[in-house]
């Protein structure tokens, strides 16, 4: 478990992280998002005990990382963004060295290295000198290192950065398999990655954690996506616009998302999007009744949410606006 309680980290006059509070429970995989310079790496470094917070405290695996740093670090597997390692060592040598300083007993060390080599798919390169392996393998060596000793907490900084889609999928698979009974906090700037791999997202903006409620509010715009079978697109749009509570209708026009396909003579499928005036209102039933009364077949009716990418974009723009306004 990770609990950050009002962490602030200042470097002289510069505040890198301000009053950050969040919690990641056991068995959870949580994504930690933020643009470059938002304070992600600083927060992660405080959580691994690299340096202490200026104020506030962090509890990792049940130990205060500042007061009981060694005890806490026994339960942390950490992978930094650039996966720095000793290039002159062989992969298995390096993992053996890491296992020894992580306090894994000599008699268990060989088996543990074998386990993480197998888990991270490093069999082919285990005897190779690290400086000669590809970027993808380096990432996997970093991940294997983090997994050594089966730590309760995994803190991974950009674990899939620089990997191709297949390698990303493999890393995601490893995380899925290793998550049981663990707490995983991973920072990433690949938003699709965060959505695919994480149960929950924490966003940090200008050193401050964006409240979860704000993210949820941004996510839940209450938009209704409707796929109707119709030959008269304009009438369908007008009908949807007339549903009480609908503020705006999108889609249907060429160039603005017209996805009408004429497949059976007169009638085709049109996908329309209705924006409600109240984002919390659920208009699905009203839309369904309206179209059913006119006997217009509804092929699909769903409430959609903003993608993480959109939310992230909005928050980033807000940051830029705040910068401009001083």
């Amino acid at each position: 478990m990770i609990r950050a309680e009002g962490i602030t980290k200042r470097f002289g006059e510069f505040t890198a992280v301000s009053d950050a509070s969040f919690e990641v429970g056991e068995g959870e995989v949580v994504g930690f998002l933020g643009v470059n310079g938002a304070g992600k790496t600083t927060t992660l470094r405080v959580l691994i005990g690299f340096y202490p917070a200026t104020s506030g405290r962090a509890i990792v695996a049940g130990f205060d990382i500042a007061a009981e740093s060694l005890k806490a670090r026994r339960h942390i597997g950490y992978m930094p963004e650039t996966t720095p390692m000793y290039g002159e060592m062989r992969v298995s040598e390096y993992l053996n060295f890491r296992a020894s300083i992580k306090g894994i007993e000599r008699k268990r060390r060989g088996a543990e290295v074998d386990r993480v080599v197998e888990r991270a798919g490093l069999k082919e390169v285990r005897g190779q000198v690290i400086r000669t392996v590809s970027r993808g393998y380096r990432q996997r060596i970093g991940l294997a290192d983090a997994l050594l000793g089966s730590p309760k907490v995994l803190i991974l900084d950009e674990p899939t950065s620089g990997l191709d889609p297949l390698q990303r999928m493999q890393v995601r698979q490893i995380l899925r398999e290793e998550r049981h009974g663990r707490t995983v906090l991973l920072s990433t700037h690949i938003l699709s990655e965060a959505e695919a791999a994480c149960d929950r997202i924490i966003i940090i903006r200008r050193g401050r954690i964006v409240p979860e409620a704000e993210v949820e509010a941004l996510r839940a715009v209450g938009m209704i996506s409707v796929a109707v079978k119709t030959g008269d697109l304009a009438a369908a749009r007008a009908l949807l616009r007339a549903v009480p509570g609908v503020a705006e209708v999108r889609g249907g026009d060429v160039g603005t998302g017209d996805r009408t396909q004429r497949s059976d003579g007169g009638a085709g499928t049109a996908v329309l999007e209705a924006i409600p005036s109240d984002r919390n209102a659920d208009l699905r039933e009203a839309v369904f009744r309206t179209f059913a009364e006119r006997s217009i077949p509804l092929l699909e009716l769903r409430r959609t949410e903003r993608s993480l990418e959109e939310i992230f974009g909005i928050l980033t723009l807000r940051s830029a606006d705040e910068d401009k306004s001083g």
């Binding site: 470097f11 002289g12 470094r45 691994i48 005990g49 690299f50 340096y51 202490p52 060694l70 005890k71 670090r73 026994r74 942390i76 950490y78 930094p80 650039t82 720095p84 390692m85 000793y86 002159e88 060592m89 040598e93 060295f97 890491r98 020894s100 300083i101 992580k102 306090g103 290192d145």
Partner: protein
Amino acid sequence: MRNATAIARRELGALLLSPASYVTGAAFLFLAGSRFAFDFVRTRQAEIRPLATICYWLPIFLAPLITMRMLAEEKRAGTFEVMVSAPVTDAEVVIGKFLGALGFYAALLLPTLSCVAALAHYSEGPLDAGLIAAGYAGILLAGGLYLSLGLLASSLTESSILAAFLGFIFCFVPLSFDMLNGLPEVRADPILSDIVSYLSLWTHYRSFIRGAIDTRDICYFASMTALGLYLAIKAVESRRWL
């Protein structure tokens, strides 16, 4: 201490795998061996003094070259961050690196035993094993002091080149007291002269060359080396003070 041993083994392995180490080591052995051979031919004296003398000042240049990357490069490359994410203390990291460097220095001294073999071959009587052992003890203790100062320099920067340069300066400090001791102004003040004399590396080193192992000299080297390591540990810990 288990962690320090693991780190020492890794450092020693890295030094033994580095071509730069061999270049540096070869230069050191060439200079030490040449000086020894030159003095031996000139004086025909079967003594270890020429070797010990060169090992008094040559490590000023050698030690910083051995230690320059040890902390500076780790910090620059980020491996230090990975290292201390494990349950390892900063003191274990510094001591482990020091032991690795000392192990390499000791390994570098092994070929100089050929000088002892030459002495044994050409000397008329039996060699004084105690004198030679004391000489080597002095060489190792002085080497340890220089390496701790080199490590201190490496802990203060992320640039290996700057670490080497700082290391040369730091290593020169214990030698400079010997020069200061020669100044008439210092000699005129008995208290100051005593202090400078105590701080001078040569004062303690020459006892070993003469074959005398004195606890006070061992204390000097141990305390100065410990001071260098302590300051290096504090410099590494300074990231927590920001």
